[in-house]
């Protein structure tokens, strides 16, 4: 991980002096070869998903596997293509905050509407 932490001292500066702005620019981006590898893995995972759809397997097995493959694809794109693995933690927090909020809000909505509908 190439995360860069921001200490309080970095932001406020020392002895009342001017704020020292840390450089948060990414220090590393994947190489072209890594990007192509991730693209190939994404293609294979998508092929696996479609194969699972056509495989004559019980939904109780298929659905968790499909969800796991989707999460794997999601994480690959977010960490490598969107560079969250290498970028500032601040950016990561915005994405996770949005996803956690959405997850909580809409899970509650689905449960409540489901209960109301009987």
């Amino acid at each position: 991980m190439a995360d860069t932490e921001i200490s309080e001292q970095d932001v406020t500066g020392q002895e009342g002096g001017p704020a020292q702005v840390p450089s948060e620019e990414p220090t590393h981006h994947p190489s072209v070869g890594e990007y192509v590898e991730i693209g190939a893995i994404l293609a294979v995972l998508t092929a696996l998903e479609v194969a699972l759809y056509y495989a004559n397997i019980a939904p109780s097995i298929t659905i968790p596997m499909l969800i796991a493959l989707t999460i794997a694809k999601f994480i690959l794109v977010v960490l490598w293509f969107m560079h969250l693995r290498f970028d500032s933690k601040v950016f990561r927090r915005f994405l996770w905050a949005g996803m956690v909020l959405a997850g909580l809000l809409y899970t509650a909505a689905i449960v409540l509407v489901g209960i109301a509908a009987g």
Binding site: V11, V50, I67, K73, V77, H83, L95, G98
Partner: protein, 202 residues
């Protein structure tokens, strides 16, 4: 001269040392999670509500091989945009333009596929108002399509500005921010493809 450069740099950085535009893009992406989350939740709620048209349901209407190919093309377009960014970082503007254009073309193919799919569905009697299932399907995939269309316009704008030499300053930052938007559109489709098309409705 150095002071001017410093002032120009400070314009684009927050007090955390982060790029304002990039931070703004991540805030936007965070808010978009809530936007698409609402439509995905609505689809999950109404996927079994067929109204007066029980024959129009996920098991009869979707063309999985066709949508799988569209999904593959959209995934590969994400690869295209990171290759454009890699070229921009190397200062190779010609290669960057090639990948930007390739990404825009792949996005257009995906969008054309979606328009074709909607046309087929309409011909089979699946309209917005057929049932709660069809409404939630069209709203979710339609809004995603609008986002893809906006992404294509952004990519083509970058390509055209680079072609006429108006994308010389901060090229990498601009391509990276447009790329973030494009990847977000891609990850939303990764979720839609599984939730809407692959997971059995019953």
């Amino acid at each position: 001269m150095a002071a001017e450069a410093g002032a120009a740099s400070a314009e684009h950085e927050t007090s955390l040392g982060l790029s304002n535009e990039k931070l703004g893009m991540w805030v936007f992406i965070g808010s978009e999670c809530l936007f698409f989350g609402a439509f995905i939740a609505a689809y999950i709620l109404y996927v079994g509500s067929y109204g007066d048209a029980p024959e129009i349901n996920p098991t009869t209407i979707y063309d999985i091989p066709f949508t799988s190919v569209s999904t593959f093309i959209l995934l590969m377009s994400s690869l295209g945009v990171v290759l454009a960014l890699a070229a921009a970082q190397q200062g190779n503007h010609r290669q960057m333009r090639t990948w930007l254009l390739a990404t825009a073309i792949m996005g257009t193919v995906f969008l054309s596929g979606q328009v074709y799919e909607f046309t087929v569905f309409m011909a089979e009697g699946m309209t917005m108002s057929t049932s709660p299932f069809t409404t939630s399907f069209y709203v979710l995939t339609g809004f995603h399509g609008v986002h893809v269309a906006i992404g294509i316009l952004l990519l083509l704008t970058l390509w055209a500005r680079s072609l006429v030499g108006k994308l010389e300053r901060r090229t990498t930052d601009i391509v990276e921010n447009v790329g973030l938007y494009w990847h977000f559109v891609d990850i939303v489709w990764i979720v839609i493809f599984t939730v809407v098309y692959l997971i059995p409705a019953e």
